[in-house]
Symmetry: C2
Subunit: 154 residues, 2 copies
DNA sequence: GTCGATGCAAAGGCTTTGCACAGCC
DNA sequence: GGCTGTGCAAAGCCTTTGCATCGAC
């Protein structure tokens, strides 16, 4: 897979921003482009986003990274993960996998993704029962990866 | 329900501590007792624990509250919640409901609990597929409670 | 009496914010 | 050209830690 396949047209960002009366800046494009470059499965912290952009000589201040992550999340282009283990992390929001969950090794942080329609069904049932309007349904499976499970035995 | 029904014998704490070569202090008893007093459904932050203890004239420093919450969690007597909305929170670990999940209103913070065997099944399947050893399986349903859903319409 | 636990205050991450300047529309 | 976004540095949480003292065993 040497080819890069951008998930969102540049205009998607432009349009979303314009609708909210906000501007398309190089910084915002760089942050979103970074997530598109690394693909859907990657979960980055603000600090990591900042570091990666610096490495590719794309100058964005850390404060702006924070501001941009919040903005892109609120626009639904990024999604915040709920993994207490390693602080706040973000990933590209994927319409293709609305019901994707995380399997996290609590020892080394290794994260695998998986899908499960059953989980969404359970969430919908619970929301319905209490009269809530469901927004998002996130299953976090805390576990030990094979390597760490072996290490724990010792 | 004017009667209080303690979930754990005082000796449970004493034993757990003793096994780890640690001491049964009034502070540790007070923190655990607070959680038992308020019951299973309550989710408290460190700050709230501190405040509630102060209100009942039980002097425990905030630093000790933090230390104790971590200790009790690592012993499995308390359980940390993964609700990004309101910071880190703890609840009494309940063997009775190993598969209990949370329905959270992202607007007002109202939290309802529910159970679902299907979720645990999905988590086990995912863990098994990747060779992970499952520790915990937590479903967070982010939603709008009836009141907040109505308010949003406006 | 010993060694772990507590309290206090200071240090430490991570995240947000105030302000002047830069640059998108 | 106006007004939003950025960068920088400072401020703000929340949480942890160092150290002297206290107290459980």
């Amino acid at each position: 897979m040497p080819l890069q396949t951008p998930r969102a047209q540049p205009s998607a960002l432009r349009t979303s921003l314009h609708d909210r009366g906000q501007r398309l800046t190089p910084q915002r494009q760089r942050v979103l482009a970074l997530f598109e470059r690394i693909g859907e499965g990657s979960h980055l912290s603000a600090e990591e986003v900042h570091q990666r952009l610096l490495r590719s000589s794309e100058r964005v201040s850390l404060a702006t990274v924070y501001r941009t992550l919040r903005l892109l999340s609120s626009m639904g282009l990024l999604q915040e993960l709920e993994l207490p283990e390693g602080g706040r992390r973000f990933e590209l929001a994927s319409d293709a996998h609305p019901d994707h969950h995380h399997l996290v090794c609590v020892r080394c942080g290794r994260t695998e993704e998986f899908e499960s329609g059953a989980v969404l069904t359970a969430g919908e049932a619970a929301a319905g029962q209490h009269g809530f309007r469901l927004l998002e349904c996130v299953l976090n499976v805390r576990a030990l990866c094979p390597a760490c499970a072996a290490a724990e035995q010792a």
